[in-house]
């Protein structure tokens, strides 16, 4: 029986393993491309003020986008997991749209949303009138990242809340809590790791976001430049070394974030 299953398992391993090999090969190729020049290129690239600014803006915008994603994801995830309400299916479907939509389309749609005129004003012109600029400025970077990242946060948090037994909240109600009290004292603390996981996932997703940022915030060097747009700018000016160096940094950050999400997921298991 065991012997008979070997060729089958081997075939699965070869087919599935080829994809794993592709991922490993991509990262290895990036490292091999720079080879012995890696330390020197890294030093040069991260010594450049515009790339340092890009790194700082990435850290800043991803963190804000991740916080906003959790702020939207916790209530929405809870409502989707816990309550039966008319239109829940529709909302679940709508929330998944940013996940499946081509990133460029998200960017175009954001641009249109902020610039389409309702009466005499668009959102952008109204904000401009109040001294704020969104499109092609830092807020656009954050909104573009948030739009996609929040969808992932909502998915994670819906799953988190659906795995927490409703009974504990019901007991909290009998012990004197209001519905809000039971949420704060019982549901949310139990969802702690899920919230951290959603934050990390949203952060990592924001870091990799390019399409919506490209369209809605532009790729102006030193103004709306984040790491993903840095890679694009470096490539478009033929500086392949710098593009690979920044890519390697992003891979490292993504690996750390992914490790964190997996660890949090594992620790959360009962």
């Amino acid at each position: 029986m065991f012997h008979n299953s070997r060729p089958f398992l081997a075939a699965l391993a070869v087919l599935g393993g080829s994809y794993v090999l592709l991922i490993v090969a991509m990262v290895a190729a990036d490292v091999a491309y720079l080879g012995g020049r890696l330390p020197a290129v890294m030093t040069e690239v991260f010594g450049a003020p515009e790339i340092r600014d890009s790194l700082l803006l990435s850290l800043f915008s991803c963190s804000i986008a991740a916080v906003l994603s959790v702020l939207a994801g916790v209530p929405l995830g809870y409502l989707l997991a816990r309550e039966k309400w008319r239109g829940r299916g529709l909302v679940e479907w709508l929330v998944d749209i940013p996940v499946v939509l081509p990133p460029l389309v998200v960017g175009v749609s954001l641009l249109i949303l902020f610039h389409v005129k309702v009466g005499t004003h668009s959102i952008e012109s109204w904000l401009n009138g109040h001294g704020m600029r969104v499109s092609f400025a830092v807020p656009a970077v954050i909104i573009a990242q948030f739009t996609v990242a929040a969808a992932f946060a909502v998915r994670t948090l819906k799953l988190t809340f659906s795995q927490i037994p409703r009974r504990t909240e019901e007991v909290a109600l009998t012990l004197g809590c209001s519905r809000a009290g039971a949420f704060w004292r019982v549901a949310l603390p139990q969802a702690r790791r899920g919230v951290l996981g959603a934050f990390t996932l949203a952060w990592a997703r924001s870091l990799g976001e390019f399409g919506p940022v490209y369209v809605f915030a532009g790729v102006t060097r030193g103004r709306t430049e984040v790491l993903s747009t840095t890679v694009y700018l470096e490539l478009s000016t033929g500086r392949l070394d710098a593009a690979v160096a920044v890519s390697l940094l992003m891979i490292a950050v993504a690996l750390v974030a992914l490790g964190l999400v997996r660890w949090l997921g594992k620790e959360d298991a009962p």
Binding site: T168, E170, L173, T174, S178, Q190
Partner: protein, 204 residues
């Protein structure tokens, strides 16, 4: 005292109608019935966790039928205990007192008193995920009665326990009823629970 009169609960296709009973103050009533008869549903409805179509629920001379669960003054121990896994034994036991913003000194005194009654003193700083089935049920009991409710509702508290665990929990329940002067409504399908504990048996 607990009085349930003409109460009717509908949950999907399930329908429980014309349930009426009275339990005297300080009694230990056992609610029995076959699986699917609506025993748990009855407890949930008395707690306010399930909407009642009609009927009245009176707890210690207060008509609580329209009250939210928080204001009914009922200690509830569900079948699996449903302890709060993010809290220690001490924090679980103190939960209702903290919600009521009692003074830290009062909370410590009450938790220590209950821990002594229920044999939890050595476990107070443990996480509830590390406890045995019987220990969990005792923590759930301590948490349910900490705010001195006049009524305690138990849903199959012995179902996951072995024989010695059952005996021990029965002793604790008897002592708790005497010392806390609490009225107990206890759901079980085991006639030996009724024999050992009940002052009144209600059949669904």
């Amino acid at each position: 005292m607990i009085t349930v009169s003409d109460f009717c609960v509908v949950a999907g296709k399930f329908r429980l109608e014309n349930v009426s009973f009275t339990i005297a103050a300080g009694a230990h009533a056992v609610l029995m019935g076959p699986s699917g008869a609506g025993k748990t549903t009855t407890l949930e409805a008395i707690c306010g966790l399930r909407a009642v179509e009609s009927g009245r629920i009176v707890i210690a001379d207060r008509d609580v039928s329209a009250f939210p669960p928080a204001e009914r003054g009922i200690g509830f121990v569900p079948q699996d205990g449903a302890l709060f896994p993010h809290l220690t034994v001490r924090e679980n036991a103190a939960f209702a007192l903290k919600v009521r913003r009692q003074s830290p000194a009062d909370i410590v005194a009450r938790v220590n008193e209950l821990a002594a009654q229920l044999g939890l003193t050595q476990l107070l700083d443990r996480r509830v995920t590390e406890l045995s089935g019987g220990e969990k049920q005792r923590v759930a009991l301590a948490r349910a009665v900490a705010f001195r409710p006049p009524v305690l509702l138990l849903d199959e508290p012995f179902s996951a326990l072995d024989v010695p665990g059952r005996e021990l929990l029965r002793e604790h329940l008897q002592r708790l009823r005497a010392e806390e002067r609490i009225t107990i409504l206890h759901v079980t399908h085991d006639p030996s629970d009724a024999e050992a504990l009940a002052t009144q048996v209600i059949k669904l």
